[in-house]
């Protein structure tokens, strides 16, 4: 059974969002997504200063066999990307909820209202 962490927000595309404060969030992929992919061997992420748009592709997470697009759950500016994942992509499989991908400064905090709670996300996996 895949792990779902209480207190995070989730998208239907199997990303999680963690609120850091009123305008900043961390974005990663869920444990369910990580185990469906198998061993992650590469993450292709935007850099600080790039912008991401809600429901648009912002990068990819790749297993040996296939690339899966990452679909952004929020719009905003990338403040930081997780450099640790460049050298150690396997961190995503070890703990999907600490292996965040990008830190985003939100354009519109109301977008978070469209995301799922842990309870709601559990029902779709």
């Amino acid at each position: 059974m895949s792990k779902v962490v209480e207190g995070l927000l989730y998208s239907k595309d199997h990303e999680w969002v963690k609120k850091l404060n009123d305008s900043e969030v961390l974005v990663g992929i869920t444990d369910f997504a990580a185990s469906e992919l198998g061993s992650v061997v590469f993450v292709d992420l935007p850099e600080a200063g790039d912008t991401v748009e809600v429901n648009a592709e912002f990068g990819a997470v790749e297993s040996v066999k296939a690339a899966s697009d990452l679909v952004s759950p929020v719009s905003g500016e990338v403040i930081e990307m997780n450099e640790d994942l460049v050298g150690e992509p396997e961190l995503v499989n070890e703990d999907a909820y600490s292996a965040w991908f990008i830190k985003v400064k939100l354009d519109n905090v109301k977008e978070l209202d469209n995301l799922l709670s842990a309870e709601e996300y559990k029902k779709i996996i």
């Binding site: 198998g38 590469f42 292709d44 790749e62 040996v64 066999k65």
Partner: protein
């Protein structure tokens, strides 16, 4: 939509918790644990694949040798009984119907091993060429199950677990053996770049052998690692490096044709014409200088010009670098040529290199 078939080992795969997916009309194991572990088991020790989905045809009759010579790109006439030969069947225009192995039983009997995805198309093609020849062709794919035992310890494991000594079996040769009362055909062949064997038998024997080998420590490997392994050895896959849009010359497989001999075969004229006109493109190796993963179908650029496409690519498990096979227009096929692969919205730099990414570890003489 046809019903998805299962091989005789389906229940064994389920017991081993394999991730199953449909491939070529069969529900096949993609991976049991991780592709990396399975890949490394074959490179360093010994692994085993269920390849029962492969197709088998038997050609019989007094004209068998002349018929196979006409149908098959490579030479078999001078080959001895018990030999296995790699080659292709071509359309008149020189593009590829399929690649296959030809097992020569004797002058009046051959066994052809074809790709699972092409069984129906190949059978129709082969039968349609028989008119001028006194031969019969039987599709025995349903009667033959197959496992491939691959890796440097394959010979030792087969001896230890099955009691069959294959030390005298030469590379690209086969023989008839028995396990208990089951007849087996075993060839020293494979699709991994390592030493190893392909074992053909009926379903009952294959299930028994699979269990015996798993219990004895042979690592079950799925189609995921089968692809990463064959790719590192630059062995072509139908639908990628070769297809009905690609000729053997473009695929760099001229050595598996007899165009320089006086033997005729279907497609030969087209290949001679292509040689005379000069090739416009060719499959090459590519290595990227920045970490990313070049996947099949991604376009390749030199400046603003699209010069080709990736046919297979991985972050190589053995080498750790991003490498690919790609169909590239001349003159950008020259070794050392710089190019860029478009990966999503980025252009990742790389260069053309030898496609022998890895030294093959075959036993005895090469093909």
């Amino acid at each position: 939509m046809q019903e998805v078939k299962q091989t005789c080992l389906f229940n064994e795969h389920v017991k081993l918790n394999a991730k199953m997916e449909e491939f070529a009309g069969y529900e096949m194991p993609i991976v049991y644990k991780t592709i990396k572990e399975e890949h490394n088991a074959v490179r360093n020790e010994v692994g085993m694949f269920d390849v029962s989905h492969m197709g088998e045809f038997i050609v019989n009759g007094v004209d068998s040798t002349a018929f196979v010579d006409h149908l098959f790109s490579n030479s078999i006439v001078e080959k001895e009984n018990g030999s296995v030969t790699y080659g292709m069947m071509l359309y008149q225009n020189g593009t590829i119907v399929d690649d296959l192995l030809v097992y020569k039983v004797h002058d009046e009997e051959y066994l052809l091993i074809v790709n699972a995805s092409n069984i129906a198309k190949d059978y129709e093609w082969v039968v349609n060429q028989t008119e001028e020849f006194d031969v019969t062709v039987k599709n025995v794919s349903e009667d033959y199950s197959e496992i491939a035992v691959q890796g440097p310890n394959a010979e030792a494991k087969v001896l230890e677990l099955m009691g069959i000594d294959l030390s005298g079996l030469e590379f690209f040769h086969f023989g008839n053996y028995y396990y208990e009362n089951h007849p087996l055909i075993i060839s020293r062949t494979g699709y991994t770049g390592e030493d190893g064997f392909e074992i053909y038998a009926d379903a009952e024997a294959v299930i028994e052998l699979w269990r015996l080998l798993v219990q004895g420590g042979v690592i079950p490997c799925g189609l995921g690692s089968r692809d990463t392994l064959r790719f590192e050895a630059a062995l072509p896959l139908y639908g990628h490096e070769i297809s009905d849009k690609i000729t053997p010359l473009e695929a760099g497989l001229k050595m598996f044709t007899k165009i320089d001999s006086d033997h005729d075969f279907i497609g030969k004229d087209a290949l001679l014409k292509q040689t005379e006109a000069g090739l416009t493109r060719r499959v090459v190796g590519i290595e990227l200088t920045k970490i990313s993963i070049p996947r099949a179908g991604y376009p390749v650029f030199v400046g603003d010009e699209e010069v080709g496409f990736i046919t297979t690519g991985y972050l190589s498990i053995t080498l750790g670098t991003p490498i690919a096979l790609a169909m590239i227009n001349r003159p950008f096929t020259k070794k050392g040529s710089n190019l860029e692969v478009k990966i999503r919205n980025k252009y990742i730099p790389g260069f053309v290199r030898d496609k022998k990414f890895l030294k093959k570890n075959y036993k005895s003489k090469g093909v």
